[in-house]
């Protein structure tokens, strides 16, 4: 792991006298490598290493008896501060409060919608699930089955209406059923599909949501940056949800998205069941990314 690699770097160079820039440069190469192996975008990794390098060339490290441990501490701190940036609490204040769920195909949106419904119910709210994916075969059925499994109401008028009509119908239905939280599941879409990105921007206008959540598969590679940037520009999300964290991916996409958008990661999905939702812990994620 990174600590061992640093220890070796400094041990090998110890014979050369006081810690110097060469030591730090060598350690920084290890950091960059670890981040790239973890799927952190290479530009994000480069910028991150530049920040850490600057701090590591300070007196705290150079004068320290354990420079390797100092640098590990700096790397970890910088990671946590980026991952936990602007940890805004999840804002549910409207009535009904709207939450729109967006993201690439297969990222885990529909499953997350059910998890979110269970979560807000624990906080004393009454959620209504809205099936606004009119494209994927049996998507409406999938959300309806999940809604039944968690005993939550669902508005699923089928695939003959437009997404905007379904969203507006969902808000009306929430008022009718005295639900105070509208959770809108949308179809997976490519960040570069202009038509589909416009559709979601229109749906967002119709819903006026308090929260728009980008659901991102934690095993996403280098392209996570571009995905996040496009969704930010075309839709503007308020938070990120990382899914499939029960796997063994290092999850560098988390750092890429957090550092490029500055948006908080609000939830972590750790399984397929409606209960498999956790708060996101930046320090745990930092350790995971560093391997």
């Amino acid at each position: 792991d990174l600590s061992d690699k640093f220890a070796r770097v400094f041990k090998e160079l110890r014979g050369q006298g006081k810690v110097r820039e060469a030591h730090v440069q060598s350690a920084m190469r290890e950091v960059r490598r670890a981040l790239l192996e973890a799927d952190v975008n290479y530009k994000v990794a480069r910028d991150f290493v530049a920040r850490v390098s600057e701090r590591s060339l300070g007196q705290a490290v150079l004068a320290s008896l354990t420079p390797d441990q100092q640098i590990v501490k700096i790397v970890h701190e910088e990671l946590v501060s980026l991952l936990g940036a602007r940890n805004a609490p999840f804002n549910l204040s409207g009535n009904p409060a709207g939450i729109m769920i967006v993201g690439l195909q297969g990222s885990g949106k529909t499953s997350f919608a059910a998890k979110l419904a269970v979560h807000v119910r624990k906080k004393g709210r009454r959620p209504l699930l809205v099936a606004a994916d009119i494209y994927r075969p049996a998507a409406v059925e999938q959300l309806s089955v999940l809604a039944r499994q968690i005993s939550a109401p669902v508005y699923a008028p089928g695939t003959d209406r437009s997404v905007v009509e379904i969203v507006e119908g969902g808000v009306r239905e929430a008022r009718r059923q005295l639900c105070d939280t509208v959770i809108v599941d949308t179809a997976g879409r490519l960040h570069v599909d202009r038509g589909m990105m416009k559709e979601i921007a229109d749906a967002k206008r119709a819903l006026g949501p308090e929260e728009t959540l980008l659901v991102l598969d934690s095993m996403t590679g280098q392209e996570a940056v571009r995905v996040a940037e496009e969704f930010l520009r075309e839709v503007d999300f308020t938070g990120v949800v990382l899914t499939k964290l029960d796997g063994d991916t290092r999850g560098g996409a988390a750092l890429s998205v957090a550092s490029v958008t500055g948006k908080p990661i609000v939830f972590a999905c750790v399984g397929e069941k409606p209960d498999d939702l956790e708060a996101f812990y930046p320090d745990r994620m930092a350790s995971r990314i560093l391997g």
């Binding site: 490598r33 799927d39 996403t220 590679g221 499939k244 991916t249």
Partner: protein, 276 residues
């Protein structure tokens, strides 16, 4: 800028390194490719030459894995596996349509008996492709459904059975055991089937694709890969390392969500996609 003999254009090399890393080829594979580039080019070469050398190298890695003929036996049974959400079910719908248009008779087996509406989803694809589907109740044993389906194909003289399985993370030991059981039941209790597994990988996925490939191919007869969502901006470069380590060919690529959006893997197009 004139380069004297032996001097390398470091700027061009850095740019190419960024292209390879950005394509999810991974730091280790990228390092090796760049090392070999440095070793194989003399001075006075520039960006265009480097690009050509790297393209040839990538083509060698990805193009040299032969596509094996389907295993002998009838019916041919393709079990489609992979982690959650990569595109298994959609790929099966597209594949059924393609094989049927190529003259094979196809039957689908709904062995994802776990996920909400998984069977309904496959059923809709079967209808679109115009092929029969064998299914049981949600919660039934996937191996039993597979057995049923192959038996039905046998009795109806159908050429190919394609079995859909539930998405599963390779870190879940019990789910990997369940998968192994599907293969075991078919290979031991169905004499003479041509059994093979195809692993579906998502082009958006980073280095975890290599972990997935290693885990899913351990002890299972995996003969091919399908790389989906190549219509996204991701380049799917993780298959380069998979080729180097496991030598399993990419057979098809997914290029969208429609029934026609499946194409045979073209190594040159793939490499061109990476290098731009």
């Amino acid at each position: 800028q004139i380069l004297s003999g032996g001097a390398l254009d470091e700027g061009a090399i850095e740019d190419l390194e960024a292209v390879l890393l950005g394509a999810d080829i991974g730091v280790e594979a990228t390092e090796r490719i760049i090392e070999r580039l440095r070793a194989s080019t003399g001075g006075a070469a520039g960006a265009a030459d480097y690009r050509r050398i790297i393209a040839a190298e990538l083509l060698l890695i990805i193009g040299e894995t032969p596509k094996p003929p389907p295993p002998a036996g009838a019916p041919r049974v393709i079990v489609v596996i992979g982690v959650n959400g990569v595109g298994k079910t959609s790929t099966i719908g597209k594949l059924a349509y393609r094989l049927k248009s190529e003259g094979s008779s196809v039957l689908l087996a709904a062995c994802d008996t776990f996920r909400a509406a998984a069977i309904d989803q496959l059923e809709l694809w079967a209808e679109r492709a115009g092929v029969p589907l064998v299914r049981q109740q949600m919660g039934s044993d996937p191996a039993a459904v597979a057995f049923d389906a192959v038996q039905a194909a046998r009795s109806r003289g159908i050429d190919v059975v394609i079995a859909d399985t539930a998405g599963r993370l390779h870190t879940r030991v019990n789910l990997m055991d369940e998968l192994r059981k599907v293969f075991t039941v078919l290979s031991t209790r169905m004499e003479g089937v041509g059994l093979e597994g195809w692993l579906v990988l998502d082009a958006n996925t980073g280095q975890n694709s290599l972990r997935q490939a290693e885990a899913f191919t351990a002890g299972l007869p995996i003969t091919g890969l399908v790389l989906t969502k190549l219509d996204s901006t991701a380049k799917g470069g993780a298959v380069i390392a998979i080729q180097q380590k496991l030598r399993i060919p990419v057979l098809y690529v997914g290029l969208g969500e429609g029934i026609d959006d499946l194409a045979p893997f073209d190594a040159e197009e793939f490499v061109a996609g990476i290098l731009g």
